[in-house]
């Protein structure tokens, strides 16, 4: 039923909590977990790398390290993963990967959805409104 599951990741504790539950969910449904992280490419300070190479020199490394670390956690649970590092805004990245991979489900934490932090443009809010598949919003706040 949920064969292709997309989850967003950054290095925050709430994202990790959502990630762990996404792993649990994907294990339960027997699907593949697509882990997406969005990063802002930034030129490495002080070095003289031309712009066209900065992606591979900047925070791509951090994004890759994060993705690998999370993939290992999923693999330890017997869940198959695919990894996506994107330079778009996080909500765009999640919805974009979900569309490209024909996802059945996007999993997001609810950070920013409730109460005073109900901010227009928060990632879960934006994803819930724009996704073309089902969305699981997990309580992490």
């Amino acid at each position: 039923m949920y064969n292709v599951v997309v989850v967003g990741a950054d290095d925050s504790p709430t994202a990790l909590e959502a990630f762990n539950r996404a792993v649990e969910f994907t294990k339960m449904s027997g699907g593949t977990l697509h882990i997406v992280t969005a990063y802002k490419p930034k030129p490495p300070g002080g070095s003289e790398v031309p712009d066209e190479f900065r992606y591979s020199m900047g925070s791509t490394l951090e994004a890759d390290v994060l993705l690998r670390r999370l993939a290992d956690l999923a693999t330890a649970q017997g869940v198959a993963t695919e990894l996506h590092a994107a330079t778009e805004d996080p909500a765009d990245a999640l919805v974009g990967v979900a569309d490209r991979e024909g996802a059945d489900l996007i999993v997001v934490g609810n950070k920013g959805m409730k109460g005073a932090r109900r901010v227009l443009g928060s990632v879960p809010n934006s994803v819930a409104h724009r996704a073309t598949c089902s969305v699981l919003i997990l309580p992490t706040t």
Binding site: R21, F25, P124, A128, H129, A131, L136, I137
Partner: protein, 139 residues
């Protein structure tokens, strides 16, 4: 993973799809499904019951037969189902029942989410719930 699943329904196709997803998930996680529908309490003029007692008025036969039909669909798929007819606004009805049964998941259809209508049912629930919310793509 989801021991107690709450799904909000009415007689729309979107609700039927949300119910289908909720049944699947309750089955996968071996949980109990609580099927909730909201109804408008009969008005004083038509029922003769003073408004302060309207909450205790039996739900209309429409709500009852809807819940009966949907719960038998769940049971036919071997999912333990309980039904709740709750007076009032749908989003409130769903979150009220979810709080009462200590749900760990609420399932709703996405109808109305993409139009960004303030006050749409899935929108209110996604913002107001204290548990996980699955917005099932139904439109």
């Amino acid at each position: 993973m989801f021991e107690t699943v709450v799904v909000g329904v009415d007689d729309s196709p979107t609700a039927a799809k949300a119910l289908g997803a909720a049944i699947e998930l309750a089955k996968l996680s071996g949980g109990t499904l609580h099927i909730v529908t909201a109804y408008k309490p009969a008005s004083r003029s038509s029922s003769g019951v003073p408004s302060e007692f309207s909450g205790s008025v039996q739900p209309d036969s429409h709500a009852r037969s809807l819940l009966d039909g949907l719960s038998s669909r769940a049971r036919s798929e071997s999912v333990k189902a309980e039904t709740h007819a709750q007076a009032g606004d749908p989003a409130e009805a769903i979150t009220t029942v979810a709080d009462r049964v200590e749900a760990d998941l609420i399932v709703v259809g996405s109808q109305g989410m993409q139009r960004r209508v303030l006050g749409s049912v899935p929108n209110s629930i996604a913002h107001g719930a204290g548990c996980a919310v699955l917005v099932v793509k139904t439109d």
